[in-house]
């Protein structure tokens, strides 16, 4: 009687539990808590948190290669590079490039904020991460979740979970991370600078932008094609004005469906064996550094541009160069209004904010080009 009972017990997951798994449950539950209670990027952190719980239930087989349900989501959705580009289709359908077209010089702030990506890449490599892992950690500074996932799946899949969670967590914490840096690096007078209204943008310009920029970016960095092509296709849906159904599908149904299939397998990559390593702590530390350096360099670039122009830019706009759309732009507006209640910076901040998305995609494409054989 005892023999069969013992065999039966061994088929349950209870006897295969490890302290590491239980610790990962706590991490998963914390993410679920942050998503529900604090509303920190709930669309991603909720399924990621649940995915972590699932990945750390012994014998479930959900991540067993070839057979596991979540493994299939991961393999065919992320490893095959399908889901991040579809997310970009939705982002493109949401994005209004009008503020950028009205003030095109603000595009350089989106480039300046990528400095954090490369400084962190260099720091991570100096700390002992291999060059592929260092690039994946650096891209967290772009504050763009889908691009981080895209690059991690190509260069360092073993870091995918940690980098994705770091990117989305810090994106949610932009209102906490950025303001002290913004206040530290600008004077009260600089924060009061009022932006001059940009030129009026015609519908034709808005239509031409996604087409022309697709050509230019893909010709320059072919490896960025999957992301930039879908981003600009989504934007073309938006601006064309004749495919409302496609635009709505990209913005809503499609985006929502792929978000489910993105978060769950990312969480499922975070089993205790992979995640509970000292280097994960370094990834979170470096990710935070990437965000801070990106913010600082964006502001510094805006201040540098002001040295050469009579038409001054409010340097706070530089902080919006990190992608985190539209959170970073909202933070700029909030810090700006603290100095001058009548200074409405939100519309202007959206320019560098959407430029940051393009800049991060270019940065990721360059990493792929330079680091893959």
């Amino acid at each position: 009687m005892i023999g069969p009972l013992s065999a039966l017990i061994k088929t349950t997951g209870f006897v295969h539990l490890t302290p590491g798994m239980i610790f990962m449950w706590i991490i998963g539950l914390v993410l679920i808590y942050l998503a529900i209670k604090k509303e920190y990027e709930p669309l991603l952190l909720l399924p990621i948190g649940f995915g972590i719980l699932l990945a750390n239930l012994p014998l479930s087989g959900l991540m067993t290669p070839e057979h596991g349900l979540l493994w299939k989501f991961y393999e065919y959705g992320i490893h095959w590079e399908i889901i991040p580009p579809i997310i970009f289709l939705g982002i493109g359908a949401f994005t209004d490039f009008g503020p950028l077209l009205a003030n095109p010089r603000l595009i350089f702030l989106g480039a300046g904020a990528q400095a954090g990506v490369y400084v962190t890449f260099f720091a991570a490599h100096a700390m002992g991460f291999n060059i592929m892992e260092a690039a994946t950690i650096g891209i967290i500074g772009g504050a763009d979740g889908p691009t981080t996932i895209f690059l991690a799946s190509k260069l360092a899949p073993q870091l995918l979970g940690a980098c994705a969670v770091a990117a989305y967590s810090y994106m949610a914490m932009v209102p906490i991370i950025q303001p002290p840096i913004m206040r530290l690096m600008t004077t009260q007078a600089e924060r009061k600078i009022r932006m001059k209204k940009g030129r009026k943008i015609s519908k034709r310009e808005k239509l031409l932008f996604p087409i022309v920029s697709t050509f230019l970016i893909i010709l320059l960095v072919p490896a960025s094609a999957p992301l930039i092509a879908m981003l600009m296709l989504g934007n073309l849906f938006r601006e064309a004005g004749v495919v409302e159904r496609l635009k709505n599908a990209a913005q809503n149904e499609l985006m929502n469906i792929v978000t489910i299939f993105l978060g769950l397998p990312i969480g499922a990559t975070m089993n205790a064996q992979v995640f509970l390593q000292p280097k994960v702590l370094f990834i979170f530390g470096l990710g935070l550094m990437a965000f801070m350096v990106s913010t600082a360099f964006g502001i510094l670039l805006a201040k540098t541009m002001n040295l050469f122009s009579s038409n001054k830019i409010n340097p706070l706009l530089g902080a919006a160069g990190v992608s985190a759309v539209p959170m970073a732009a909202r933070v700029v507006h909030k810090v700006g209004t603290e100095a001058d209640k009548q200074n409405y910076l939100l519309m202007y901040a959206m320019g560098p904010n959407v430029a940051g998305v393009i800049g991060t995609v270019i940065a990721a494409g360059i990493f792929v080009t330079l680091l893959t054989p």
Partner: protein, 44 residues
């Protein structure tokens, strides 16, 4: 590929890419201003 090369190549690549987009926006703006869109004719 050395980290230094990736660092320099990456930053300059991003700025070069953004400069290309900036120029394309400016050129499109000049063309748009020179050849403004005609308002659609309406039936009266």
């Amino acid at each position: 590929m050395s980290a230094g090369f990736v660092f320099i190549g990456g930053i300059s690549g991003v700025f070069f890419g953004m400069t290309l987009i900036y120029l394309s926006i400016k050129i499109t703006a000049v063309i748009s201003d020179r050849f403004p869109e005609r308002p659609k004719e309406t039936l009266s």
